[in-house]
Amino acid sequence: MLSRVANSLFWSGRYLERAENYSRFMEVNFNLMLDLPPGVTELWQPLITATGDLELYKQKYDGYEKEDAIFFLAFDQDNPNSILNSVRRARENSRIVRENISKESWEAINGLYHFVNDAHGGKTWNSDKPQHFFSAVKQKVELIYGISFNTDIRGDGWNFNRIGQYLERADKTSRILDVKYHILLPSVSDVGSPLDALHWAALLKSVSGYNSYRRYYGKLNPVTAVEYLILASLFPRSIYFCLNHAENSLRQISGNSSGKHTPVEKTIGNLRADLEFADINDIFEFGLHEYLDKIQVQLNKVSEQVSEQYFQIRPNFTQQISNQ
């Protein structure tokens, strides 16, 4: 597969997943607000912190008004990671390589693009129920995944797309957990209060994990909730699950079975093994924030190594000219 094409498929996977994560975060935050007692300040700042774009936000806005936050996260063209920009880039990357994806997948991505563009044109952030927009985006992305699952061939392109998707998802799960846990920390002492339960439920819902967690563990408990989001082997949004699947895709591309590793397979394999045998109590002892930070550093390294190994194009232009 052409390196340039692989690169585009990787990024279209990342951006699509990013748009979906943002949409779910927003939708959950709306729901959470409805449940909060009067007087509790709204919770947009942590969300913006979790996206990593707080500095940019502060340059543009004072305070954390709902309207500003929605606009910034969803529609702001200055925010490189807004839903609008993520969808545009996912679509642009797909358009570049559309001969490599199924017609059905392309049309679904193109449909999402037009939907988000129209919402931008129609100033959805001013509407009285912007949360409908977020649930629609979420559903449309899920639909794209479903269509792709049933129509796209399982070649290298599929795997590069998956690697992008899973690295992005692992990153987002770790970030939302990091930020939310930080806020919830003071309340760990009075675990069990209704407010506390709401927050924990919201965190799990942010990664579509509330129901499955309840089914698995029953009562809400911060320790097992964190365990679920980092280490669960069967939950498709846990960090471990994402790493495991990204690693599988990498190995399908290289054809390496165990015993032989490319540099990136080594990095991701180490990280995956670390999580595979980790105990949640050790993680808390190490410090959750520090642990998540370490994971994020390794995730970035994986992303860089994928790029180094597969996406680099030798500049035929300058090199050849200077040879003459």
Binding site: M1, L2, S3, R4, A6, E92, R95, I96, V97, R98, E99, W106, E107, N110, G111, H114, D156, F160, I253, Y310, F311, I313, R314, P315, N316, F317, Q320, I321, Q324
Partner: protein
């Protein structure tokens, strides 16, 4: 529906002078009347939507970057009967064969110049004559692998070639996608009328490209300038349909005069390149040295016979609008035949008598730059004001070689859905020709239609739309 339909002064392809439908259009006309205005409008609306969601868009040059438009598809098809098609097919086969011989001669012995059939300064002054191609022998001696001549009909309905596009013309993806859409809209008409299929074009294109290589299973790549090119949709579409890689210049590299793609598994060799970039951008070492779109060393690899390129570099010299005027003579010279399809009468401003005539008749004539495309750089005399006439007088006098003039054509019309009703709109015809082991004209075409009432400019970049074109069995 057709009560107010006006056909006066032009050849209307559906309705004859007596106000009745021509035989091969009778079924369609009845069908349209039975469907009724409202139903047709609904179908037209859903067609627009379908094109947008399929992403059948093109970028418009001279428009802000990133603007994507659809090429409006009018749902009423244009129909050609068997006799009409035979005339077109025979005429184009003859023409392309002659032009191929002409190009080969120009880059070798130049007999046609020595015999004074064509003045040699016409070729010497052509920007599209590439010195680098002198003595070149492309695989199988084919230069013009893919072409699409623009054909129009005069007031009597006679076919004439308006221009030859020998530099990988675009639009064929619209021919194919239009057909898919229209089949969904009028399935019963297809059954009743018997329409020749066009769907095997990509397979025929691939066969032709692979024919150029001696390898058993040659690897084919489509070379595109990239996503901002107006025809990117088509490049990607054809690559997909052929199972070929779609590459940009940066994906390719040349080592030891062999061409490779840069893949995730290292370098992979390329045997045939269907290039959709201009000659002069192909290889910065030989042509435009600032080109970032091309591949350094590509031309040398081509000359060594290590890669085939379609179309061959250098074909542009034969679709220069000044050379166009000589094509009847070119056909006669190489094939000793009279042209089966005529040219539109053409005045070369480089010839003294013609120049005088052109300057005296500017308001009646269409003036074109000899090497501009897409309807740019042209003046339609009767539609332009006197200021524009003067502007062009200046331009022509400054550089006569760069201009030709033709009488204003009375392009034929076909019924088209407009905002108000169904009305006659002017059309041209672009059939596609593949030159491999034989010269094949695909039985279909892109019909371009000028959507503005009375307009004769059918270019998509200037408000033109398209129609599906049915060639009957």
């Amino acid at each position: 529906m057709f009560d107010k339909y006006k056909v006066s002064g032009f050849y209307d392809e559906m309705i004859s002078g007596e106000g009745v439908a021509r035989d091969h259009y009778a079924t369609l006309k009845d069908y349209l009347i039975n469907s009724g205005d409202e139903r047709l409008r609904q179908l037209q609306f859903s067609t627009d939507k379908a094109q947008m969601s399929m992403g059948m868009t093109f970028n418009v040059y001279h428009d802000s970057q990133g603007v994507e438009k659809i090429l409006h598809l009018d749902i009423i098809p244009r129909i050609l009967n068997r006799n009409e098609w035979d005339e077109i097919e025979g005429g184009l086969q003859q023409r392309i064969e002659a032009l191929n011989l002409f190009i080969h001669d120009l880059y070798h012995d130049q007999k046609i110049l020595k015999d004074k059939i064509i003045p040699d300064d016409l070729i010497r002054s052509s920007k599209d004559f590439l010195d680098a191609c002198k003595g070149l022998n492309p695989p199988k001696d084919i230069w013009i692998h893919i072409s699409g001549s623009d054909i129009v009909r005069d007031g009597e309905g006679k076919f004439m070639v308006l221009e030859d596009n020998l530099r990988c013309p675009s639009g064929v993806s619209y021919m194919l996608e239009n057909r898919e859409i229209i089949k969904g809209i009028f399935p019963d008409l297809f059954r009743n009328l018997g329409v020749q299929p066009v769907a095997d074009y990509p397979a025929q294109l691939l066969n032709m490209l692979q024919y150029l290589s001696d390898k058993e299973k040659p690897s084919v790549a489509v070379l595109t300038p990239g996503i901002y090119n107006s025809a990117y949709f088509e490049h990607s579409y054809l690559a997909l349909q052929m199972g070929a890689e779609l590459v940009t210049g940066q994906d390719l590299m040349v080592e030891n005069n062999r061409v490779y793609m840069q893949t995730t598994a290292g370098l992979e060799s390329v045997d045939v390149i269907y290039r959709r970039i201009d000659d002069k951008f192909m290889d910065p070492l030989v042509f435009n040295k600032d080109s970032m779109l091309g591949v350094p060393g590509l031309f040398e690899a081509y000359k060594k016979g290590n890669v085939a390129i379609a179309n061959a570099p250098g074909t542009g010299v034969a679709d220069d609008k000044a050379v166009y005027a000589y094509i009847p003579r070119i056909i006669k010279y190489y094939m000793d035949q009279d042209p089966k399809i005529n040219n539109v009468p053409t005045y070369l401003c480089s010839e003294k008598d013609s120049l005088k005539y052109v300057l005296e008749h500017l308001p009646e004539l269409v003036v074109k730059e000899t090497n501009a495309a897409g309807g740019y750089g042209m003046m339609i005399g009767p539609k332009a004001d006197s200021k524009t006439h003067e502007e062009f007088r200046e331009k022509i006098l400054n550089d006569p070689r760069n201009y030709i003039a033709q009488p204003t054509l009375s392009l034929s019309t076909v019924p088209t859905i407009t905002d108000k009703d169904i009305a006659a709109r002017h059309v041209d015809l672009r059939p596609y020709i593949l030159y491999g082991d034989s010269i094949k004209v695909i039985p279909g075409a892109l019909t371009r239609v000028a959507l503005v009432e009375g307009s004769l400019v059918v270019n998509s970049s200037q408000g033109g739309g398209s129609k599906d074109t049915w060639v009957l069995f």
